[in-house]
Amino acid sequence: MNDIMRTLLWLPVQASTFASKVDNLHYFVITVTMVASIATGLLAFYFFFKYRERRKAQSTPLVLPSVKFEIVVIGVPLFFFLLWFVQGFKDYVWYTSPPKNAMDVYVMGKKWMWKFAYGSQGPNAIGTLHVPEGRPVRLLMTSRDVIHSFYVPDFRIKQDLLPGRYTETWFEATKAGRYQILCAEYCGTWHSQMWGEIVVMPAQEFDNWLVEQRRGLSERVDTSTDDGDNFHGSIVEYGKKIAMSEGCVKCHSFDGEPHIGPTWLDLYQRRETLETGETIIADEAYLTDSMIDPRAKIVKGYKPVMPTYKGRLAAPEAAALVEFIKSLRSESLENVPSKEAIYEPVKRR
């Protein structure tokens, strides 16, 4: 029964302890809504035909409500509405009361990514949140810039992230799997791409994973694409890994595709015109400077939205990134000019 209703209503899977509470009340409310509205529409339609004007200047009776009718008409809707209010508020209070044994995860939202941290011991992650199945998790959330909203449809949870404040929400996942996180408060150009993923692992597996993560470097960076071990490979591959995990790829493409920031394909040694009109060559110094102080020299046609990585990239990591960028060369010998940015140029305020 639950599955029939869920499918009819296009509701996603119920993957948290809150989800079935929400859905049950939902079914009740929406069924009464559909019945009442269709009944009203059909009744009006029926009256339209049954009581249509048959003679010109036909007379009509004086129809008035009795006091009893008025009381019923006020009482019945009020009863339903208050019933739903009470049940909904009860469920809501349950939703805002994280259990005392909930594991805390810190969530930081910024345009246009989610960052997660498991307390001071880490690990940290961008975009992917690993959690255990069957154990409550509390999210302590804040925003670095504008209001965002952490929404997991499969869990039926949502909570705004505010700059300058901490907000909290919690959930207990009931089924292992991968569930999408969507930003649900408009936050600018890539609001609709500010997605993430919750990976729910069986409890034991999660415990193992956490221990693995904490072993080794005190600051670990996690992506959903690799196994989190010590990095083996060339400096260029290391640079690519960092580019993915630090979120560079959100704004800079590797293949020439125009995006929020200049593409990295053929960027090294490219002659670029800055906003100020002067021309520079994108050499190692410029690339490194751009990571530390991105607003200083902005290429013409791009917005000053790149965050600084000062303090977030160790020197070897910055060097690896530069090497990676240097490796991105297209086959043609001539310089491929920067393509037009997709969006309108920066307007002065």
Partner: protein, 547 residues
Amino acid sequence: MSQSSDAEAAPVYPAVNYLNADRGVWSWLSTLDHKRIALMYLVSVLFFFLIGGIFAMAIRLELLTPGPTIMSANTYNRMFTLHGVVMIFMFMIPAIPGVFGNFCLPLMLGAKDVAFPRLNLLSLYLYWTGSLLAVTAMAMGGLDTGWTFYAPYSTTTPTTVFPALLGVFILGFSSILTGLNFIVTIHTMRAPGLGWMRLQLFVWGIYATSIIQVLATPVIGLTVMLVGIERIGGFGLFDPTKGGDPVLFQHMFWFYSHPAVYIMVLPSMAVVSDAIAAFSRKNIFGYKMIAYSSLGIAFVGFFAWGHHMFVSGQSPFDNGAFAAISMLVGVFTAIKVFNWVGTLYRGAIAVTAPFVYICGFLFFIVFGGMTGIAVATVSLDVHWHDTYFVVAHFHFIMVGAVIMGFLIALHYWFPKMFGKKYNEGWGMVAASFIVLGFIATFIPQFLAGNAGMPRRYYMYPERFEALNVASTAGASLLAIGFVIVLIYLIYALVRGPIAGDNPWDSGGIEWMTTSPPPKENFHETPIIDRDPHSYQKRGEEVEHVVI
């Protein structure tokens, strides 16, 4: 007062009426005649409805595919912002009061004009000025904040926001002055014999709307001013880096914007009340209930704003209080629905285009209203907030109730305003397109919200594609319906048959004068000796039925 006693005689079009009493463009631009002001509002709001509609079609076209379709992300963000700003501030809020309130209110009171005709003209000019500023913002590249202007995004985005804020501020002034004018008119300019309990229900609805306009609009004025000052001056109340609270913006914004939705829907309900009685040729089932419920909505509606902020970080106590109050507002609407249906019962219903709209309206107001109750249920709103469920809910009310109401008003009072009749056949065809197209557009959006699709999404996960395609298809039907209406109404203006004073045989006082009316409204002050919604013939034995 009996119905038109010359029902058999040929309808007459008065040679001299308010349309041709004075000639020349300047006579229109400097007019003090509320009827001419109403027509200028009509042309303006229809123009902005078209603009807002174009933005809507752009949005729906872009959403045909999960990835980029016809525009960039930044352009899309401007599209939905401008769709909201134009539709809400330049159409929904001013339309029914500005057009039909202005035209009909003095007529329904047996008065020569509104209380302050010059203030009325000023309202129109302020409307034009505010709208022009918003258009300027569009021409300068447009803004991408969403019509809700949430801080700190709105205070920091580099798009062109300030002219739009100033435009909204000035449009607010227009709204306040109109509301003020109407309140004083209703209090002071009723014809002899026209007590409060004899007023047509359209008047009650406009009265309740005007109270909200006067009390709530100053708050949005201040709020947008504060955002503008923060953008221009770099100081303000909402910047978290300076200790400000973005949630304070939300409180101030929604304190107006929730009552604002009642500014939009109350006039539409007011129209339906009048039209249902007229087209059923029957008394209003529960007159006092409908009248008082309008006041109830206006009053209680002021205390419900926090239901837009359930996941904003507001305390659970606040959430509970706002939820409970929101439930109360729903009851008032339920009362109206029962009374409207009761008015149809044992009526003598005329088969006309407005009636198709009325059927649609009744379905939409119950469905839209009850999905409103659903999102007011706090635990459910956690899932639905900022998803397409909410978008569908408010479009059910904004389009399903308000625009249906606007169309009912347009068709019902078309003969009164222009003295011509439109073609009922085409009217019903268009109404069917609109009602069915509307259902096809917005029901998929409820489902998309259930599935988890957030609002203001330029790109979306693929699993939402089918619903979006369905919605866009429905929107095309809706658009076709509107275009058909425009065509046959313009045709009727130019070549339609003469309507005569009272083609509907309606009991409303506005029908006691010629169609179109003379400049001074009535050739002689009407004496009101009966209830305008009563259709009993004098001396006739009337059957009394009590339910």
